[in-house]
């Protein structure tokens, strides 16, 4: 296990590379999911609001 982590002495280069890649991929995924969730939430709110408007003014 330790030998694997040492990466032949190049651990200081291999692991930060991979961590950067994983961090960006995971980060962008989470960020995008949040963007979608926020938009959907807003749409639900507005749909409810506009239905209420139609009931009171329709």
């Amino acid at each position: 296990m330790l030998e694997f982590l040492a990466m032949g002495g190049y651990a200081a280069y291999v692991w930060p590379s991979w961590l950067t890649g994983v961090a960006l991929i995971v980060g962008i995924t989470l960020f995008s999911r949040r963007k979608l969730a926020r938009a959907q939430q807003k749409l639900t709110q507005l749909t409810t609001l506009s239905e209420q408007e139609r009931e009171t003014h329709g």
Binding site: M7, I28, T29
Partner: protein
Amino acid sequence: MFDYLANPTRFLKIASIVEPLAWAVFAISCSVGLYLAFFASPADYQQGETVRIMYIHVPAAWMALFGYLMMAVAAFFFLVWKHPLADIGARAMALPGSGFALITLVTGSFWGKPMWGTWWVWDARLTSMLILFFLYIGYIALADGFDRRDRGSKSASVLLLVGVINLPIIKFSVDWWNTLHQGASVMRMDGPSIDASMLTPLLLMALAMKAWFIAVTLMRMRALLTERRVDTMTARIQGGADA
């Protein structure tokens, strides 16, 4: 204006099938690819274990180029045929595409320091990749930089098309100039020069990243479509309130 409402329904139907499929392909190809990359492939006779960086650096570089190309195609469709889904597609691809460009630059740097003895060099390949990253950032800034969204979409689309020339420059930089960056070992006229034990995890990681790109792009397109519906409804409600 209401033209695009017809297409998104069809798009959303397609997305509801393709998106989960893309995530599944990502999960499988990434797990197998990572296993092969770290456990079942050899170290390089010259580069030792730093060759493991290749399995994230090269697929990310390929995807950075692919992403930009797809955005440029979308920009062309938007400018010529005014297709609103095309603009949404380009906008959606910008963040994952720029992410790949950044991964390429950072992982390349970490690979270059032990192998070349330097974090950076202004050779043709590295410089043109940095310019690609700047083009991505420029697109993102322009697209959202105007009061009117369509102005942003148009100028950003023009930037994408103007920057397309950078793609063949990146690809052929290692042939046209003396570069520190090595020449092509996969996409060559006489086939790959890389051994199968390394080519397989490389191609699997490339497939994984492509699948992820498709999944995240579709997710972001859904988000952008929803945001536009929100904008339309907000305008309608405000218009009704003012009336």
